[in-house]
Amino acid sequence: MSQHYPALLVIVPLLSAFLISAAGWLNKRLCFPIAVAALSVACFSSVLLLFQVLDEKVVLYKLGGWSPPWGIAYSVDYLNGLVLVVVSVVALLNLIATQRNVEQEFSEKIGAFYTLYILFVTGLLGIVVTGDAFNLYVLLEIASLTGYGLIAMGENRAPLATLNYLYMGTIGASFYLLGIGYLYIVTGSLNMADISAILPSLYHSKTVLAAFVICIVGVWLKMAFFPLHAWLPNAYTYAPSAVSSLIAPLMTKVIIYVMIRLMLTVFTPKYIFSTLNVSDSIVWIAVIAIVMGAILALGQRNLKKMLAYIIVAEVGYMVGGAWLGNRAGMTGAILHIANDALMTLCVFLVVGNIVYKVKGYAFEDLKGLFRKMPFTMGAFVVGAMSIIGVPPTCGFFSKWYLISGAIQAGHYGFMVALLFSSLVNVILFFRVIEISYYEPFENHHGQESHPGKIAEAPLTMLVPLLIVAAGLVVVGVYTGDIVNHIIEFAIPKGIV
């Protein structure tokens, strides 16, 4: 069975999504257990797969038994081995943690909800695991379409926000498709490894240049990199809480993985950093992204939107880190994919718990929550520390590598931007903490409560949240191992 892990990773959730859909029509209570079982299997196989990668370096799986350039192949190396584990673990934890939210918000369409949920995760896992450029596009569309469906179920303004997301997302995905077409016209291949083998003789082709630009712009659109971020804040804010805590940690991170994959495997580092002379200007755009994300976050008066703008800034971190063109920066970017997924999950789960209890997430709704929900807010503080970048939480270490990369590249603007955003994060989070800590609890929503009495979210929501919060510290402490055993090998030797 061990040689089938890459397939199982995607197939089990896919098949179970169909089962859930059928169960949605026949017996609704089965949906959630099937979903949990499917994601547990995915989680399990992704972890085993990572261990297999540690042994064998690259795991290749030929789908349909056809060898790569002709058929589609999954190839798992250190880079996507790591991201797979992150994606499946985050999805599983979020699934368990948000069960109550889902029951509260989607009582009637539970079958459809979990179908879309699992298909979304399948799409992301497929994006990460695949070694075929076109297959990636199809899975990207699966993840996007399910994402639209899920986000649009939110509150009043959600459909419009989703529609805007859909326009931007479709342009982004189509650009990616077009870029792959440009590569195909000059190389005749769709397999990533194959393309990169053919590409060196074409480094000076205008078509390859255009393909590169189009692909990267498309991917930027999907990941909400700064000037193209307009869709993100509204979409993530108005989404249902169970959905925003799924999509916010995963979608942008996976797309950033795609960007890094394009840079490292498809276009090859030599082309990206030597032949093209753009990395410096892209890092400057990232600097602007970080600064603008931070400033825009300052202007928000509700928690979810504030977090959404922080994500915009975090995207800037990772893009900038990846484009610094040295090992430390790239390590920081890859590490931050994992870390940012975890810490975003943490804070969005907190928002989920708050919404479950208080039915709101504007700053006024947060008053007195420290007294009411001490554990949830404790987890929030840990998440906030990680986003700010306080050791020993994991956010500090990725920031460490990013800044190291900036120093080694002599790009002090990027360093200053990272520090600036950390400082702004301090202000942002302590403003929230102050409100929830000092202001007395006020009841806006006509629900029975006694000030000062603990009214925590149910245990099924709380336990996963606390696991994530503890995970932030544990991952932080084990950063050295992750970097030495995984990320170190994920970056090609060419990058020093």
């Binding site: 459909p159 189509s174 769709l190």
Partner: protein, 135 residues
């Protein structure tokens, strides 16, 4: 003149695809009506499909269905198959997928547009934004 026509023909498909794509993109960015944007989105996607199909075109070749006598469909092909004789099937396959994706996106987009309309009773983006700001 005789030089010009081959020149035009050589890249005409690519130019048209760029034109179409820009029309679609323009509609998506500049149009105010949500359904118009969706129309633009579809034009945009079909333009890309046109591009791919143009890649697959091959002079002097025919459709990618192997000629064979009925009855020997078990792999025992007697005559050798000329590569130049058949069009490259790969872009076609990819584009079948892309068409499907575009119709799926269209369905979801229209569903969203209807949902927006039910809530705001208009499809004009500026009017909707005015409504949201007014509330």
């Amino acid at each position: 003149m005789s030089d010009l026509i081959p020149f035009i023909v050589a890249k005409y498909n690519y130019w048209i695809y760029i034109t179409l794509m820009m029309i679609g993109l323009y509609a998506m960015i500049a149009k105010n009506n949500l359904v118009k944007k969706i129309v633009g989105m579809n034009i945009f996607q079909t333009a890309i499909i046109l591009f791919y199909v143009s890649i697959g075109a091959k002079k002097g070749a025919t459709i990618p269905i192997i000629e064979h006598a009925h009855g020997d469909a078990h792999g025992a092909v007697s005559h050798t198959i000329e590569i130049a004789h058949y069009i490259n099937p790969l872009p076609h396959v990819l584009m079948l997928t892309a068409i499907v994706v575009s119709v799926a996106t269209l369905g979801v987009a229209l569903a969203l547009a209807i949902k927006v309309y039910n809530r705001h009773k208009t499809l004009e983006e500026d009017e909707i934004i005015d409504q949201i700001k007014g509330i």
